[in-house]
Point group: C2
Chain length 461, copies 2
C-alpha cells in the first residue's frame, strides 16, 4: 500500500512512538499534584511546552496544548473574538480556510457577528490588498491559513499580518499544514496547529496567543493550560507531539527538496498521461508534498475506489464523495474544476518508486471510470448552421454526468450557437463553467428553470 | 513509592498499554476516509464504541468519545440545556459535584440561567426528596455524580433518576469515579466518564445521551462523533480506553472486595492511631478504594509533603493546598472539617503491605506537622467562674492556625462562657464549627468585625 494522504493524517513518526511509550510510564499522573508522580508529569509537560514553543517561535507561556487542531481553532477564534468584543464582532477569513475555521465563522454569525470571506485567485491564494479592503472599524479578528490543505498553495501570511497589524487587528494563522516544514513567518498574533498532521499522535493541538493580544476564554472555566484548554492534560501524547515536531523539523529541509521533486513530477506528468485533466494550486508557492488535480468526466469516489484497489490511498475534495454532497469549497472558491478531484499528499519518506507506480496506474484508473460513465472520448468536428438553443436534460443526474452530457452534444452545436444544460445537481454550477474554461467554450450564465437551473454554454471552437 | 491517588488519575492498565501500542499502527488514519487505512481506523473506532457501550449499558449510537471527561461534562450539559431551552433554563446540581459540573453550572448562570445546588448530608449524600423539591416547571436539566470524588460516597442515582423521570426532566450522571466498578443503575438520561480514571489513557472521555433525549450540540459545527465532539478522533487512545474498561470490569468484583477491606482498615485504624481525626464520607455506601479523613491542627500541604517524603502520593481537598486557597467545596458542603485533609484512593492491585506501611507512617507525619505549628496536645481542665468574652486575635493567620489558637485557649474559658476568634481566613468559617462539633463545644455563630469576622464559641465541657 502507498499512503498518499498525509494532509489528512500523517503516519506516526518513529520518534513520536518512542516518546509516547516512554512517557506513558512517567506522564500519566496529574501535573497539578505536588507528589512525585505529579512533579514528574509537570516536568514532562513543561519540557514539551518549551520544545514546541521553540519550534513555533514563541514564548512557552504563549502556547497551550489543546485536544486537537480543530479544538485549537474553535477555542482560539472564540477567545480572540470575545477579547475584542468592545471593538466589534466582524471577522475576516479567507474563502479557502479549513472547515474548522469556517464553522467557527458560522458560529460567529449565528451569535450576531458578521463575517467577510476574502476570495482567492485561481491558484488558491489570497491577496493582502483584499484583506486590507475587508478591514473595518469593527473588525475583531482576521484568520488566514499558512497554506491550503486541499491544493497546497502557500498564503502570503507575512503581508496579511502586516496589513492587520497596521490596523490593530489580530491575525490568527491556521498553520496545520505547514508547521512541520518550518515556523510561520510574519508578525501574526495567534497560531493553531495539529500534531497528527506532522507525524505526532492524534489528540494534540497547539494554540499560541502572543503576549499583549486580548484573549477571553469561552465556555466553562477550567484552571488547566492557562484556562484556555479545559480537561486533564494528555501528557504522553503531548510529549510525543513535541518530540516528533523537533524530529520532522530536523529532516524538513532535505525532505522538502525531495518531495517537491516528486510532486513536481506528478504536476508535469499527469496532464501528459491523462487527457482532460486540470492540475490546480499554485505551481511555485506551494507545500512540498501536496499536488491536486481534477479529471473531467470522472466522479471522485469511483476514482478513489479504483486507486484504492490499485494500492493507493488518496483523498478527494470532489463533489462526489459520499460524506459531503456539495463540491469542495476550496475548489469552487478557486473557480477550478471540482469533478474527479484527486489530492495526493506525500508523507515524508515516500519512495520515488511509489510515485512512479502511481503515474503508471492513474491513466488506466481514470479511463476505466470514464468508460463506465460513458464519457465522450473526443469532441466531434464543428458543424455550422444547425439548430440553436439545443437543450440537454440532465435532471436527476449527479456529477459528473451533467458535464458528460454536455460534452457529448457540444459537437452537435454550431459554432456561435448555444446549448442549455438542465441540471438540479449543485455541482453543475461550478463544474460547467470550469469545463468551459478548460474547453475554451463560453459560459454564458445560469437561467432559472422549473427544476434546478439551465446552464447556458456557447460553442466557440 | 506508593501511589494512593487513583481518584485523580489511575496508572495505565497493562491492557491499555498493549491496546494503545497495537492501535497506533492500525488506527492513526482518518476514519472518515474510504481507503484501506481509513476503513481500518473506522473498524477500530466502531469496535471500541460497541465495547464501551456494552460496559455502560447503552446503544453504541448513544455514545460518543470526547477528548476528556471534563469536555464530556461541558459538552453534555451545554447540549442538554440547549435542547430544552423552550422548557426553561433552570439547572439542578448537587453541591458536591466535580468542578467541571460546577463550572458548567456557573456558565449556565452567566448565560442567564438559574442553578439550584442541592445540599448533602454530613456523609456527603444527596436525598432524592431534595431533588424533587428543587424541580420546577422551567427545569431543563438535573446533574448528579454517581459517587463523590473526594470522599467516595455513593449517590442515590436510581432514586433521583426516578424523581426526574416522573417530572420529565433529564438527568445527567457524572460517572467518572464509578464506571470502572460497574454500570450506573437507574433510568438516567445522559452519562459522562473519563478513561484515565479507570486505568485508560488520558485524552478520552465518554458522553452518552439516551435516544429520545433532546440534545443540541453547542459551539461550531463538526461532523465527527455525531456532531457532539469536535476534532479528529484519537483512535489509538479510544481503543485503549475501551479495552482497559473491559479489563478492569473483569477484575472489578474481586478487587472491590479486597480494596474495600483495605480502606476499611484505614477508616478503623486512623482514628485509633492519630488523635483529633475525623474520617469523612459514608461508611457503608461508598466506593471501594477511597477513604478520606481530616486532621485537626494540621495544614494539608505540609502533611502531603511529609507523606510524599515517606513515599506516599495522596491528595487533599484541604483549604491549605497551594493551587486553591479556598476550602474544598465538598467538605464544606458536608459541614465536616476541611483542615489537614487527606484523601487516600487506592488503585486496583494495591498490596495490603503498602496500606499497613501507610498506617505506620501517618501518626509520625501528623505529629511532626502539628509540632511545627505549635498545636495543642490536650485541652486543659475546665476552670469555672473566670472571665467571659475572651478574644483570640488570629487575624492574618491562615488555616489551621485560627483553630489552633482557639484550641490553645479553650482551657481558659469557663464552662458556659464564650470565646471570640477573630479571623480573616475564609477557611475559619467552616473549620471552627467543624472543630466545635468534633470537640463537643457549642458553635454560637459569626459576628461582623472590623477585619474578617468574629466566630463565637461556647465552652460546654
Amino acid at each position: 500500500m502507498s499512503y498518499f494522504d498525509a494532509a489528512s493524517a500523517a503516519p506516526l513518526h518513529p520518534v513520536a512512538r518512542q516518546a509516547l511509550a516512554a512517557s506513558l510510564d512517567e506522564g500519566w499522573a496529574d501535573p497539578a499534584r505536588l507528589y512525585r508522580e505529579g512533579r514528574r508529569a509537570r516536568l514532562l509537560l513543561d519540557a514539551a511546552r518549551e520544545a514546541s514553543a521553540e519550534a513555533v517561535g514563541c514564548r512557552p507561556d504563549e502556547l497551550v496544548f489543546t485536544a486537537s487542531g480543530t479544538r485549537a481553532v474553535h477555542s482560539g477564534i472564540a477567545g480572540l473574538l470575545a477579547g475584542r468584543r468592545r471593538t466589534g464582532r466582524h471577522l475576516i477569513v479567507s474563502s479557502v480556510e479549513h472547515s474548522s475555521v469556517l464553522h467557527a465563522a458560522q458560529a460567529c454569525e449565528a451569535g450576531g457577528g458578521t463575517v467577510t470571506r476574502v476570495p482567492v485567485s485561481r491558484a488558491g491564494a489570497v491577496d493582502a490588498g483584499a484583506y486590507e479592503e475587508a478591514l473595518r472599524p469593527d473588525t475583531a479578528l482576521a484568520c488566514l491559513q499558512s497554506a491550503n490543505h486541499e491544493v497546497g498553495t502557500v498564503q502570503p501570511v507575512a503581508e496579511v499580518a502586516a496589513v492587520c497589524r497596521a490596523a490593530g487587528v489580530p491575525l490568527l494563522v491556521d498553520a496545520a499544514q505547514s508547521l512541520g516544514w518550518g515556523p510561520v513567518e510574519g508578525d501574526w498574533s495567534a497560531l493553531t496547529a495539529s500534531a497528527h498532521k506532522w507525524g505526532g499522535p492524534p489528540g494534540v493541538g497547539l494554540l499560541v496567543v502572543r503576549k499583549g493580544v486580548r484573549f477571553a476564554p469561552q465556555g466553562p472555566a477550567d484552571e488547566r493550560e492557562s484556562g484556555r484548554a479545559a480537561g486533564f492534560e494528555n501528557i504522553p501524547a503531548i510529549v510525543a507531539a513535541a518530540a516528533s515536531l523537533r524530529a520532522v523539523r530536523a529532516e524538513a529541509a532535505e525532505e522538502a527538496v525531495r518531495l517537491r521533486e516528486l510532486t513536481e513530477r506528478i504536476r508535469a506528468r499527469v496532464p501528459e498521461l491523462v487527457p482532460d485533466v486540470e492540475v490546480v494550486g499554485d505551481p511555485v508557492r506551494r507545500l512540498p508534498g501536496i499536488v491536486t488535480f481534477s479529471c473531467l468526466y470522472v466522479d471522485g469516489e469511483s476514482l478513489l475506489h479504483e486507486l484504492d484497489r490499485a494500492g493507493f490511498s488518496v483523498s478527494s475534495g470532489s463533489s462526489c464523495t459520499s460524506s459531503t454532497l456539495t463540491p469542495s469549497h476550496v475548489l469552487t472558491a478557486m473557480g477550478v474544476l471540482s469533478e474527479g478531484n484527486v489530492r495526493v499528499s506525500l508523507p515524508p519518506g515516500t519512495p520515488a518508486e511509489e510515485v512512479d507506480r502511481f503515474l503508471s496506474v492513474l491513466p488506466g484508473a481514470v479511463a476505466g471510470v470514464r468508460e463506465k460513465l460513458g464519457a465522450p472520448s473526443a469532441v466531434r468536428p464543428a458543424a455550422h448552421g444547425e439548430q440553436d438553443a439545443l437543450v440537454v436534460d440532465a435532471l436527476g443526474k449527479l456529477c459528473p454526468l451533467p458535464v458528460i452530457e454536455l460534452a457529448k452534444v457540444i459537437g452537435d452545436v454550431p459554432v456561435g450557437a448555444t446549448v442549455r444544460v438542465l441540471s438540479d445537481d449543485e455541482a453543475a454550477r461550478w463544474d460547467i463553467p470550469a469545463w468551459c474554461q478548460m474547453r475554451e467554450q463560453e459560459y454564458v450564465g445560469e437561467e432559472p428553470a422549473n427544476r434546478g437551473a439551465a446552464y447556458v454554454v456557447r460553442r466557440l471552437t
